[in-house]
């Protein structure tokens, strides 16, 4: 498109915007003084703003469309290496990044300007990393669109809450029990959905998530209904007395530990016979089955193992907030976790971590603009879908560790 036409296009768009926003942006009626104030300068801002935004939008879109062709000119490589690829190709740089990150994570809660609140929201973000990694097994690896993930999160949280309420069970006992119960629920949900694919699967899992929430809300004598269960104890440390700030830091490190465990396990799973079967299942179910993979089993294990992490996260959530009620487990929560996986890059651990940090921390720090934060959230998601549908971090398959082993195979 020529530059003149481009300008013309943007001009038309800005005129439209000025016309559409005119009634709310320009006249201001003062009903007491009975005067009308004409704020023409607002019209100017809207016009100029939409004009430049549309120019920018168009420019970026065109650049994106040109992208693949330019890449094709550069020696036929479909994906240009990103900073993430480059980092992966350089083990020393990668190691130093990991060390710096680890140090930062350890020091963070003790920095003088860091408040309890800030430690708390970072803990929250790490909790979502764990949830994202769990869902990533189901959605990113096995390719099963799961919209009811929050149900298993709820199972974990209520396991701890109810076990404490009725039997006085402590956090450390509840942690494995919550994981176990969530896994069990995962298997139970797994069976009916084994035959479903794509949209149908999404609808059924969505239904399952909502049913779980409705049961929690309405089964009063068991779950205490919408009012929830309060006074759940925070995790203890050998019976030590801790004030709120200390216990927050303790939960923070607990969460970091659990998250590291998750990463460890998920990495090993990804890089195993089961993990490969999941990816094959995602790529082509019929071929996968024809190559001798028990696809029902693969789906069941993906569901069960994905749910395990939700269960663990749920127990920590209950302990952290000391209160659970059904309102914490709405569909919005499932959508949020799914967004983390999609935004970060499906199937990539670093991607999921980054996605969780961005999606959880941004709204927290944007609280100052709280009216606009859902808007900003929407804009970010739309931009991502347009410009980088594969997520922030991609290309994980190529560094799947056994490709290296393949070269070992060549040497031996």
């Amino acid at each position: 498109m020529g530059p003149i036409r481009r300008l013309g296009h943007s001009l038309v768009i800005s005129l439209w915007f000025m016309f559409l926003t005119f009634p709310i942006m320009v006249p201001k009626v003062d009903t007491i003084e009975k005067t009308v104030q004409w704020r023409w300068d607002n019209l100017l801002y809207v016009g100029a703003g939409s004009f430049f935004l549309s120019l920018l939008w168009r420019f970026l879109l065109e650049r994106k469309e040109r992208g693949p062709f330019r890449a094709a000119e550069r020696e036929q490589k479909p994906d240009a290496p990103t900073w993430a690829d480059r980092l992966r190709g350089n083990p020393r740089a990668l190691r130093s990044v990991v060390v710096i990150l680890a140090l930062a994570v350890c020091i963070f809660p003790f920095l003088p300007f860091v408040t309890t609140y800030q430690v708390n929201i970072l803990t929250n973000a790490i909790l979502y990393i764990m949830l994202g990694l769990g869902l990533n097994i189901v959605v990113g690896l096995a390719g099963l669109l799961h919209l009811g993930y929050v149900a298993f999160y709820a199972v974990g949280a209520y396991t701890y809450a109810l076990l404490y309420y009725h039997f006085g069970v402590g956090f450390w006992t509840a942690l494995p029990l919550g994981a176990l119960l969530a896994t069990l629920f995962g298997v139970l949900l797994g069976f009916p959905i084994l035959r479903l694919r794509g949209d149908y699967l999404a609808i059924v899992t969505l239904g399952f998530g909502e049913i779980t929430r409705l049961v929690l809300e309405n089964w009063g004598e068991f779950t205490f209904g919408p009012s929830g269960i309060a006074g759940i104890p925070r995790p203890g440390l050998f019976g030590m007395e801790m004030n709120l700030h200390e216990v927050t830091i303790y939960i923070y490190f607990l969460m970091v530990g659990l998250c590291l465990a998750t990463i460890f396990v998920v990495r090993r799973l990804q890089d195993s016979r089961i993990g490969r079967a999941w990816v094959a299942l995602r790529e082509d179910e019929i071929a996968c089955e024809a190559m001798g993979v028990d696809t029902r089993m693969a789906k069941l294990t993906a569901f069960a193992l994905g749910s395990t992490w939700a269960g663990l996260a749920g127990v920590v959530f209950a302990a952290k907030t000391t209160f659970v009620n059904p309102a914490s487990f709405t569909f919005l929560e499932s959508a949020m976790i799914l967004s983390i996986v999609v935004l970060g890059g499906m199937g990539s651990i670093a991607g999921v971590a980054l996605g969780a940090l961005i999606l959880i921390l941004t709204p927290e720090y944007l609280r100052a603009f709280s009216e606009y934060r859902m808007l900003a959230f929407g804009v970010i998601m739309v931009l991502m879908m347009v410009f980088r549908p594969q997520g922030i971090v991609t290309g994980v398959r190529r560094v799947y560790t056994y490709t290296r082993k393949g070269q070992d195979g060549k040497e031996t």
Binding site: V265, R273, V279, G292, V293, D294, R397, R398, T403
Partner: protein, 262 residues
């Protein structure tokens, strides 16, 4: 005489009112290359899908006599179990795992010959590591024989078309079958690639002791490679025999060239 490896009897497959296969009998003996030919829509792929458990046949029996194993009936068996029992296939329209590497594609073929479960994956004990190494080495070795060793780490979707076809055969072979079902392996290949493919199939039969049942439209390769040819038309077997016999059979000529030319 020993029992045939694959023994199909009176196989019928209906889709609603459409009879895709009616009363087809077919057998493949050890060491044989059998070609299955017929006009478009004759029911060739449907027969493959019945044998591999993707479709449940409406009537008829499918038996296998694996070398060194008991006779088994395949009807009603799950697809992955049939693969584990020793029948592997390729697809008419290539069905690789596009976002996985070439090596990984073949490694999936090893899935049914390995055991590592969830716990083994997490603990990664010695047995698991050894099994994993064996899978990699075995897969790499297969790729070497298929001339794909240079592409080990490429994504399957980035391979040239001919290589993708070969990779599909390599992946099927990784499951250690005694019978390989190839659905139009030469489709879309140029003459040179077709010749290479022919050599490859020959080598598979001789070296791996694998028998082949092959659907193919390219008559050149059918004529030169197959021990026996079976012709399907409108779901019925209309002829069976050697290449020479088939081309003298009036029913075949009619099916291929139409009524008028007779």
């Amino acid at each position: 005489m020993t029992e045939p490896l694959l023994d199909i009897r009176d196989l019928t497959m209906r889709f609603g009112g459409l009879v895709a296969l009616s009363g087809v009998g077919l057998h493949v003996s050890a060491g044989e290359v059998v070609a299955l030919i017929g006009p478009n829509g004759a029911g060739k792929t449907t027969l493959f899908n019945c044998v591999t458990g993707i479709y449940q046949p409406t009537a008829g029996d499918i038996f296998i006599n694996p070398p060194g194993g008991p006779r088994r009936r395949l009807n009603g068996m799950k697809t992955h179990r049939i693969t584990a029992a020793g029948i592997a296939r390729t697809f008419q329209n290539i069905r690789l795992f596009p976002e996985m590497t070439v090596l990984e594609n073949v490694m999936i073929g090893r899935h049914c010959r390995t055991r590592a479960g969830v716990l083994a994956a997490i603990l990664r004990d010695r047995d698991t590591r050894r099994e994993e190494r064996e899978v990699v080495e075995r897969s790499y070795e297969i790729l070497e024989r298929f001339d794909l060793a240079d592409h080990v780490n490429d994504l399957a979707k980035n391979l040239p078309y001919g290589d993708q076809r070969r990779l599909e055969i390599a992946r099927a072979l990784a499951t250690e079958p005694f019978l390989l079902l190839l659905d139009e392996p030469a489709a879309g290949m140029n003459p040179k690639e077709t010749d290479e493919l022919e050599g490859l199939i020959r080598r598979i039969c001789d070296e791996e002791k694998v028998s082949v049942l092959m659907i193919e439209h390219d008559m050149r390769i059918v004529m030169s490679i197959s021990d026996r040819i079976v012709v399907l038309d409108y779901g019925q077997k209309i002829a069976e025999g050697t290449a020479a016999e088939i081309w003298e059979n009036p029913a075949v000529i009619k099916a291929y060239l139409g009524e008028e030319t007779l």
